[in-house]
């Protein structure tokens, strides 16, 4: 039998929808939640009100944080601390980390909070869940750095360094390295400040010698701090950069090269374009042979084909004697211009215009066609529309000229971009445009003269 109320029309009201969404309770999910759900499935005990109210409390805190209601969040935190005394050991162990995260967030923004309150809070939390000691120390130090208290941050990190934790677990080891590294970074900061001062000093100044000597010893000490971290797989850009800078200052080029090579080529490290950029720049400073530079950039080309170093890569390839490098040079230019961020790069267009002409003169029409085939569907709309012709001409006539030339070559003189630019009457560029027209007529790939 169906229900009485069946025939009554019952549109969903807003209130009802609101209620159901509240009931479903969106929020952070913690592992123990899963555990609780399991007990329910088994038909186990009813969730205790303590657990219910504290998880509701957590929701309120999260909501308050989201709305930047720091005072309210602090009010709820006052009650949430009792999870530290939860009779469920699992929850009790998880509590310090959650409390630290919420509490530090509140204290970071709360108008009545200051460095002192934050320090007290951090010191207290460090000693509650000992497993969190290093993490909290590190975050505490970052907070101090944020507030410009470098010395305190340094002291904090030194304290964390001396922390003995019985047998280090693997997760803690990385934290220890991070602590070292951040300390190293702080030292690097003072070092580079000194370096700046040193560069201002006259070399003949009597104090120059002592100053540079102290710099040297300083950098050696610091590099020891940074070294350990860099060896563990990960992305450590700022650390690597400062480490290398100091090594170079000390004159330890070999070590610097080794570090950078390892950072770029070790397969255990995540793929990181910056690693290759650092290595390339280092090699460039070292005036390494072209082949070496090319091999570095080749990898970068595979990871980030739109990087601005690609233009340098193109120049290097052009200079190379090998034909395949010349072909690759064309590929690289086309590749750069595939990206929306590079469409207005005059240099790239200039390079392409020049190189197209050069290549066509050398009779490598096939290369151009090969590149063009995959792009002829979308480049006209992407680069050579009438709209772009107008706006490019308005913004940057030089860019428009280069693009027009390329458009002419690739699409023939009938293309709208080329036509628009070539019709413009510009006193300075008149000659250039004329020349361009001539070249297009001669080299465009649409009706190649055999």
């Amino acid at each position: 039998m169906s229900d009485f109320s069946e025939e009554f029309t019952r549109p969903m009201t807003e209130d009802e929808q609101g209620e159901t969404s509240v009931a479903s309770g969106t929020g952070m999910h913690f592992p123990w939640l899963h555990k609780l759900v399991e007990t329910v499935v088994i038909g186990g005990k009813k969730k205790k009100d303590f657990a219910q109210t504290t998880s509701a409390c957590l929701r309120f805190i999260q909501e308050a944080l989201l709305k930047h209601q720091w005072q309210e969040a602090a009010e709820y935190m006052h009650s949430y601390f009792q999870t530290l005394e939860d009779s469920d050991t699992y929850k009790k162990q998880a509590a310090p980390e959650i409390i630290w995260k919420l509490g530090s967030e509140i204290l970071f923004y709360h108008p009545k909070s200051n460095v002192e309150t934050f320090n007290t809070f951090a010191d207290r939390m460090k000693n509650i869940g000992v497993l969190n000691y290093l993490k909290i120390s590190l975050q505490h130090a970052l907070y101090l750095v944020h507030h410009g208290m470098l010395e305190d941050a340094n002291r904090n990190l030194s304290q964390a360094e001396t922390w003995r934790y019985g047998e280090k677990s693997s997760s803690q080891e990385i934290l220890i390295n991070l602590v070292h590294a951040y300390k190293g970074l702080l030292q690097y900061y003072t070092w580079s400040k000194k370096k700046m001062e040193l560069s201002k000093l006259d070399k003949d100044d009597y104090s120059y010698g002592t100053a540079s000597r102290s710099m040297l010893s300083h950098s050696c000490k610091t590099s020891a701090n940074l070294g350990a971290l860099i060896e563990t797989p990960g992305v450590w850009d700022p650390f690597v950069k400062s480490y290398v800078e100091m090594l170079e200052f000390c004159g330890d080029q070999d070590r610097a090269r080794k570090v950078l090579t390892n950072y770029a080529y070790d397969e255990k490290f995540p793929s990181n374009p910056n690693a290759h950029i650092y290595l390339y720049n280092f090699l460039k400073r070292e005036k390494a042979p072209r082949a070496k530079l090319l091999s570095v950039l080749k990898i970068l080309y595979q990871i980030v084909p739109s990087h601005k170093l690609m233009l340098e890569f193109h120049t290097l390839l052009k200079k190379s004697e090998k034909e395949e490098h010349h072909k690759l040079g064309l590929e690289v230019l086309f590749g750069v211009l595939d990206f929306a961020g590079c469409t207005k790069n005059v240099t790239a267009w200039k390079y392409l215009a020049k190189y197209l002409k050069q290549i066509l003169i050398q009779n490598h029409l096939a290369w151009v066609q090969e590149e063009w085939n995959s792009r002829k569907n979308w480049w006209p709309g992407f680069h050579f529309s009438f709209f772009w012709a107008k706006s490019d001409w308005k913004e940057d006539t030089a860019l428009a000229c280069e693009k027009a030339f390329v458009a002419g070559i690739l699409l023939g003189k009938g293309c709208r971009y080329f036509r628009y630019v070539s019709k413009q009457d510009h006193q300075v560029l008149r000659k250039k445009i004329k020349r361009m027209k001539k070249s297009v007529k001669k080299y465009n790939i649409v009706n190649p003269r055999l």
């Binding site: 019952r10 009100d49 602090a74 601390f81």
Partner: protein
């Protein structure tokens, strides 16, 4: 506290000048025999010593079972264990804790709760006569006192000895149990201040608690938590409330079960952490934690069941009659709830009629009789509220249609007649919805802020004690820090306990009071009498469940009209019960009201709507 071992004669340390020196020397020896195992919790090897001389991990505060003296007794033969105490004073204070039994703890809580009820305005006889008698009866029935063979003496001696040999030192002492019974009687009268009359624990007991792997602060905590005897209702903290309610019912006090539980939740009656108020000398730890610590508020149905269970266990006679002049009589309760939810007083005429027709106002129906075959008592509050729901259904049908068109009529009428307005269901809905939503939000916030943990933390054993206390201190410090950051305006004082949760007397434009509104709009004249305009009715439950699953009906919210849902939710929020419980009660009243219709609908065509007579 330290427990160290020394060799009695051969010891080179015997002549150590002071205890401090001896301590240092021993420490030196101990450190050379360092505990080198990894911590089971965090795998660190970083051990410290607790006051008891047990090892704890300094990194995760995990306390091991390994203690220093164990290592020593193993290594030095012919030693005599001797306690050397670093903090003699502290230790002796702990030892001085009273000998107390679990039932005494409950007795203490009951007294406290009864006191609280007294301050809420309940007559003093409740504590001194009714509850006291119930409790004595309970002790007798559960063979804990007032009987020939109390559990603590000869009657249970054998099994006790078999089960826990370690307990023999006190179970075999009959005098102790006599004293125990005596103290039980005495302490009821002066529940708080009989400190001096108790005798401190004997030293044997102190050592007993320390050597036992599981221990408790009470004498019988361990045994109590293990006892499982058929036919005996064991005391628990929720059951204290069942006792209270039974006494209230006996006295026919103006407190319903939902009121009682609300007072508990609002902390007007000690319940969560009730043990906090125990005298200093009544030490709680170990197994006592499981017995006295509660982490949930009482649940209506649970306490209701427990109350019946206890009444049967105590073999109580028929309770005093609930007559028409009693607060618990539906007519009076209905009046109260009509005021509470801001409905017109005129509805009372209809509700009285419903009560009369269903027979739920009769003394025999209302009076609780535990000896009756099917002992069952009326959920007075839920029933009264259900009567109101039925009345609302009679007047407005609550099908998301009729009530709104009736409201349109009332609205039109009220535009011209503001002196004696008709009751406008829509307006009432809007006002109530807003108020309840606000109140709901506030209650949720208050619940989220509720502090469960006692200032007097409970620990499993002496070993845990420093850790637990340290935690407690940390939490207090953190709380202090954050309360300084919270909004400084303190909550507008502890709300005074009241049986009303809403207040509609104030004359405001946003919260109008409907008590004086007329029902004329939904009634029509027929001859001499007034008849309800709406002639339809729908039953909340078409067919009752007859299986053995104990529930009579189910409540699937989405099957019902929104108005009905709203009304159910409003009342269940008020009583802090599940909406399904109220739905069930509504269905039961309808069953009585439409007895004939139910019978006919079962027999013949399954008509969907019931025409009201």
């Amino acid at each position: 506290m330290w427990l160290l071992t020394t060799q009695k004669t051969e010891s080179p340390f015997l002549f150590a000048v002071s205890r401090g020196e001896l301590f240092d020397v021993l420490c030196f020896r101990i450190y050379r025999r360092e505990f080198q195992e990894r911590c089971t919790q965090c795998a660190a090897v970083s051990w410290g010593l607790t006051d008891e001389g047990k090892y704890y991990c300094t990194s995760c505060h995990n306390v091991t079972e390994r203690s220093k003296e164990v290592i020593h007794t193993e290594s030095i033969p012919n030693t005599k264990i001797k306690a050397i105490s670093r903090g003699l004073k502290r230790k002796s204070k702990l030892e001085k804790g009273w000998d107390w039994y679990v039932c005494e703890g409950f007795q203490y809580i009951l007294c406290q709760q009864a006191e609280a009820l007294k301050t809420l305005g309940v007559g003093p006889e409740l504590k001194n006569e009714v509850l006291h008698n119930f409790w004595k009866r309970y002790l007798q029935k559960s063979k804990q006192a007032y009987c020939k063979n109390p559990v603590y003496t000869s009657g249970r001696k054998v099994t006790v000895l078999e089960d826990h040999l370690s307990h023999s030192d006190w179970t075999s002492d009959p005098e102790l149990s006599d004293a125990h019974c005596l103290s039980l009687v005495e302490s009821w009268a002066e529940s708080q201040s009989d400190v001096q009359s108790r005798k401190p624990s004997s030293s044997t007991r102190a050592s007993h608690s320390e050597t036992a792997s599981i221990c408790s602060g009470s004498l019988d905590g361990v045994e109590y938590s293990q006892r499982k005897e058929k036919g005996i209702v064991k005391m628990t903290v929720p059951r204290t409330l069942a006792f209270l309610y039974l006494s209230l019912l006996w006295q026919r006090e103006a407190v319903t079960l939902s009121d009682l539980l609300r007072f508990v939740e609002e902390d007007h009656i000690p319940y969560v952490n009730a043990f906090e108020r125990f005298p200093e000398e009544m030490k709680l730890y170990g197994r006592d934690k499981g017995i006295f610590a509660v982490e949930s508020w009482p649940d209506y149905e649970d306490i209701y069941k427990k109350m019946i269970e206890i009444a049967i266990f105590l073999d109580l006679p028929r309770f005093p009659d609930i007559t028409e002049d009693c607060y618990l009589h539906p007519n009076i309760l209905v009046m109260k709830y009509l005021m509470e939810v801001n409905l017109p007083d005129e509805m009372q005429g209809l509700t009285c009629q419903v009560v009369k027709m269903t027979g739920i106002g009769e003394v025999d129906f209302l009076t609780f009789d535990p000896i009756a075959k099917m002992a069952k008592t009326v959920k007075y509050d839920v029933q009264a509220v259900a009567v109101i729901v039925v009345a609302l259904k009679l007047l407005f049908l609550l099908d998301d249609n009729v009530e709104w068109s009736l409201s349109d009529l009332a609205e039109d009428y009220n535009e011209d007649h503001q002196d004696k307005p008709w009751f406008d269901f829509r307006k009432w809905y809007q006002v109530m919805k807003k108020t309840v939503d606000e109140k709901k939000q506030k209650r949720e916030e208050a619940r989220a802020k509720y502090l469960w943990k006692s200032e007097k933390p409970l620990y499993h054993s002496y070993i845990d004690k420093p850790v637990v206390y340290k935690r407690r201190e940390m939490v207090v410090n953190l709380q202090k820090q954050f309360s300084a950051l919270a909004d400084c305006t303190p909550a507008p004082g502890e709300k005074k306990p009241s049986s009303f949760q809403f207040n509609w007397t104030e004359k405001g434009t946003d919260r109008p009071c409907f008590h004086g509104h007329s029902l004329r709009g939904v009634l029509s004249k027929k001859g001499q009498s007034l008849v309800i305009k709406n002639s339809l009715y729908w039953l909340s439950t078409q067919k009752f469940c007859r299986s053995y699953c104990k529930h009579v009906t189910t409540y699937e919210e989405s099957n019902f009209s929104l108005s009905y849902q709203f009304v159910l939710n409003l009342f269940s929020f008020l009583l802090r019960i599940k909406a399904s419980l109220l739905h069930e009660e509504v269905s039961l009243i309808e069953k009585k009201l439409f007895k004939r219709k139910y019978m006919s609908s079962n027999e013949s065509s399954r008509s969907r709507r019931v025409r009201r007579r």
